[in-house]
């Protein structure tokens, strides 16, 4: 069997880079220190201040580990071998969203080399810069603008032009960069390759944020629908996922999770399994229990037979009354996102005040694969192969968990299945590491379906109150948003292994819940959670930052302690808040008998929002009229259409969706016939990749809107497999899908992966209202809830 390789395509690496890596062994940092420096004679004057601002790469590498390859150095991002091949290093992972392909296109484009000559090394703490986690639609903003990977490539190309000018004795203005070569614009015979110019040296250059980026009008690789190079491997069963990593001498582990939420370990009877075939060890650390066996099926059987006694655990809040429980729970941590301080007064003056409450359940990432990782912990050193979204975060918290020095821990990203946020990836990596440390051999752990689903960090439940005032002309004059949402744990980041189940069981506390009430007044504008509706001015610190026109505004969030683990799930908070805002906007439009599109446009100021709304409406051939449609029958099937839109995180991408639905009035069954989604993500790196993401986001949103809900009883989560957690299978009637891409080359690149999903539940809810006059204010829209709304 194949040993796990340090990199995915060793043979494709730039020749110089591969040699250097071999010399360096464990770390590329040695390579970066050891290679000869390239002397580039061109001015870096005038940009030092900007450089200072750009030197740290979270998404951009803020808080990066001290020994990360520095984000402000070109060599941290690219190496050109003596064979002309380019190796690029990135912290932004391929999670199935097409990010590797887009980044290879970026490198090929900016560096002017053929796409086939680019190899990408993804997320390995021995080689790639610390870019935090791959999440939240941050990869494009981080790497496709003027810093990090994009900036490094542009800086390198300019350096090659300068060196080429000197080498060829031709002014830079008369030179061009083509296919890894600097050549005269007028005489193609006068040329020199990058490899010749570099002569095996590294760049030794700071990333210049002022380096000229190629305008989109000149793109030949970026912006094109290039197919993913990993597609053929995936389709033929040869791609190596984390699940396929095999280390020499590897054993197999399984974990035994508590019998109930909050249960603690009382007793383990090792004799219940010690005679079983393949048994290696029972491992206990505080409340963490696991077993190691020679073969995976043996580990499954041993874990099933291990006699473990747990305390009963506390009684969970009743699911039936959970949304009220959120509203009444103390203490709270309160956050004001925006507050004009006159909302109550304006509501008092309004001709009409409309109120509604929206409810959103905990939902799960529900990855198709049960999470899996391989760890090899030997003495003071550890190497793990993990599907984590943040290798540097994982390294820091693994070091805490194992009691090792962070610099002795290497985390290598290997793709798991689609995660959509923090699924079981980090927890299972801790599981494997704890078990490996206990036996001193490599251990692979693959969670059971139940362990994946019962203990992951769920997407947030929400109770949301919306209030708005309308004037006599039917315009909104005040909007008040107040929400309650439970939290426990999160991503482990650099310091909280206890933010996920394994770290907690092994004795680490989750990030402390710090009560705070009342909330301080906002001093900086942030709409990261889309708590602020698109239709208000978003006035903070003396300026308007919002996408809308309504001046009287308040958005207030109360966080409370969750009984279950929580964490980011594709479009965290944004999806739930947008469901409330956009459903409520529809209710307001209906109240004043306005067309829902026209009513939105009337209250928006942000041109990019206006454009996506218009594009979606046009794409759907929108019929302007108020909702609901006049209902002609009380039986049979009613059809309708609804619209929704979002300025994702306020300014990180824009989307609007029109959904067309049919409602079976007798059964309450919903069939979505068509979805038209318009997306503006700035300049588009790969239109086919963006379409794929948008189609997937739209349908995933549909599944979450119609069926997905975490359920529990007095002590346990009861949605633990695909019979009890309802995901739409391949066999449902897939709606006709139209993705309208608004390509903008004059603005920075924004996020794209989470924009489509954010608007789905509200678009469908609004379409159901249009069809039937029944308003759905609780996700998921099950047939029972639809029937209740129809009769209500």
């Amino acid at each position: 069997m194949k040993n796990p390789s340090f990199i995915e395509n060793e043979n494709q690496m730039a020749a110089g880079a591969a040699d250097a890596l071999e010399r360096a062994g464990f770390s590329r940092r040695d390579f970066m220190k050891g290679s000869g420096a390239l002397i580039v004679c061109f001015s870096m004057g005038g940009v030092s201040g900007m450089l200072q601002a750009q030197t740290r790469a979270g998404a951009f590498g803020e808080n990066a580990a001290a020994d990360s390859p520095p984000a402000n150095q070109v060599d941290s991002w690219i190496a050109i071998g003596s064979d002309g091949k380019v190796t690029a290093y990135t912290g932004k992972e391929e999670l199935g969203q097409g990010m590797s392909t887009a980044q290879m296109q970026l490198v090929a484009e900016e560096l002017c080399v053929p796409f086939e000559r680019v190899n990408l090394i993804v997320a390995d703490t021995s080689m790639t810069p610390d870019q935090g986690v791959t999440s939240g639609s941050q990869s494009h903003p981080a790497n496709f603008n003027h810093s990090n990977l994009g900036g490094a490539c542009a800086t390198a190309r300019e350096a090659m032009l300068q060196l080429g000018s000197k080498h060829l004795n031709i002014p830079v203005e008369q030179l061009t960069a083509v296919a890894g070569t600097i050549r005269s614009k007028t005489d193609a015979s006068k040329k020199v390759t990058y490899a010749e110019l570099l002569a095996g040296k590294k760049f030794d250059l700071k990333v210049d944020p002022a380096a000229k980026r190629k305008p989109a009008s000149e793109w030949t690789v970026l912006g094109k629908p290039i197919g993913r190079p990993d597609m053929a491997q995936m389709a033929t069963g040869t791609f190596e996922y984390a699940h396929n990593v095999r280390a020499p001498g590897m054993l197999h582990g399984m974990v035994v999770r508590p019998s109930a939420v909050g249960a603690t370990l009382l007793k383990v009877d090792e004799s219940s399994v010690s005679g079983m075939t393949g048994f290696v060890k029972v491992v206990i650390k505080k409340n963490f229990v696991g077993v190691v066996a020679e073969k995976p099926w043996q580990a499954v059987q041993i874990a099933g037979k291990l006699d473990v006694t747990w305390s009963p655990g506390p009684e969970l809040p009743k699911q039936e009354t959970f949304y009220d429980h959120l509203r009444n729970q103390k203490p709270t941590r309160d956050t004001l996102l925006v507050n004009s301080t006159d909302v109550d007064q304006k509501l008092g003056e309004a001709a009409t005040v409309v109120k509604a409450t929206y409810l959103h359940p905990y939902q799960m990432h529900g990855s198709i694969a049960s999470s899996c990782a391989v760890a090899d912990v030997q003495g003071e050193k550890a190497t793990v192969w993990s599907p984590t979204q943040g290798v540097w975060h994982q390294r820091a918290t693994l070091a805490m968990l194992l009691g090792l020095k962070a610099e002795n821990v290497r985390v290598i990203f290997r793709r798991g299945s689609g995660c959509y946020g923090i699924n079981g990836a980090d927890a299972v990596t801790y599981d494997a590491a704890l078990l490996s440390q206990a036996v001193g051999k490599p251990v692979r752990v693959q969670l059971t379906r139940k362990d994946e689903m019962a203990w992951e960090n769920y997407g947030f439940a929400f109770t949301i109150d919306e209030r708005a005032g309308l004037d006599a002309q039917g315009n909104i004059i005040a909007w008040d948003h107040e929400a309650w949402s439970p939290v426990l744990g999160n991503r482990p980041v650099y310091t909280y292994p206890g933010n996920v189940i394994t770290g907690y069981l092994a004795g680490f506390q989750p990030e402390e819940f710090r009560p705070r009430s009342p909330a301080p007044e906002p001093t900086t504008f942030s709409n990261n959670s889309n708590a602020i509706p698109s239709y208000v001015v978003g006035h903070v610190a003396g300026a308007d930052h919002g996408a809308g026109k309504v001046k009287s505004e308040r958005a207030l969030l109360h966080n409370v302690v969750s009984p279950f683990w929580t964490g980011p799930l594709r479009s965290p908070q944004r999806l739930q808040n947008t469901f409330a805002h956009e459903s409520f906007m529809d209710e307001l439009a209906a109240r004043v008998k306005a067309d829902p599109v026209e009513f939105r446009l009337r209250h928006l100021s942000e041109p990019r929002m206006i454009d996506v709304v218009k594009a979606a409406a046009k794409g759907a051939n929108w019929d302007p009229r108020p909702s609901p449609k006049a209902r002609t029958a009380s039986a049979g099937v009613a059809s309708g259409r609804g619209i929704s839109c979002v300025a994702y995180e306020g300014d990180n991408g824009f989307s609007a969706m029109v959904a067309e639905v049919e409602v079976d009035l007798a059964t309450g069954k919903i069939t979505v016939k068509r979805m038209v989604v318009a997306i503006d993500a700035g300049p588009i790196s790969n239109p086919d990749g963006l379409r794929n993401q948008s189609e997937g986001g739209a349908l995933q949103g549909l599944s979450r809107a119609l069926g997905e809900e975490v359920t529990w009883d007095d002590h346990n989560v009861t949605s633990i497999d695909w019979r009890t957690y309802h995901s739409l299978p391949l066999g449902f009637s897939v709606p006709k899908m139209d993705v309208v891409l608004l390509n903008r080359s004059d603005v920075p690149a924004t996020g794209a992966g989470e924009t489509a999903i954010t608007v789905v539940a509200s678009a469908i809810g609004n379409a159901i209202f249009d069809a039937t006059g029944a308003r759905l204010r609780q996700v998921p829209f099950t047939p029972e809830r639809i029937k209740a709304a129809l009769s209500g």
């Binding site: 069997m1 969203q97 053929a232 033929t236 396929n244 391949l730």
Partner: protein
């Protein structure tokens, strides 16, 4: 432990395994195959699908002893990166995957279905795929790829 004979992708293997072991574990751990994948271990999602005598079978709930000596085909037994099977080619051409983890079950279930129902309507194909999950929701492209494969296989 006892020796079992398993015929996978045209090769016969003699294996010393617990006969109650699910086929999936033997394929991925004893034979090192990457096509069949562990999704749920409950036969609910389809990721572990293999073809047994041409039928789509969920290998995570199939005891290895029950398929001794019969012909088992995994995703890597259909075609290669250089020479993909027409249905694999259709998925590549349609770029019909995101994370790709479910692709094994999607392609093999579709192949078994199309082999039996070469003239299936869109609705019938949808029903044929009704027990397979893709959590990235690449459904639109996957159905397009299956249609493309159907047309290719009909020619």
């Amino acid at each position: 432990m006892s020796f079992l004979s398993l015929k996978v992708n045209g090769q016969t293997h003699s294996l010393d395994v617990d006969p109650t072991t699910p086929l999936l574990y033997v394929l991925s751990d004893d034979l090192g195959l990457r096509g069949p994948k562990f999704g749920c271990g409950l036969g609910q999602c389809g990721s572990c699908t293999v073809l047994v005598k041409g039928q789509a079978v969920r290998s995570c709930i199939t005891a290895v002893e029950s398929v001794q000596g019969v012909e088992i085909i995994t995703l890597e037994g259909l075609g290669t990166v250089e020479k993909p099977h027409p249905i694999q080619k259709a998925f590549i051409e349609e770029q019909a995957a995101q994370c790709g983890f479910c692709l094994n079950g999607v392609i093999l279930t579709a192949k078994a279905f199309l082999d039996k129902n070469p003239k299936a309507t869109e609705k019938e194909i949808e029903e044929g795929m009704s027990r397979v999950l893709c959590r990235c929701f690449t459904h639109t492209r996957m159905f397009r790829a299956i249609q493309r494969a159907k047309q290719g296989m009909a020619r």
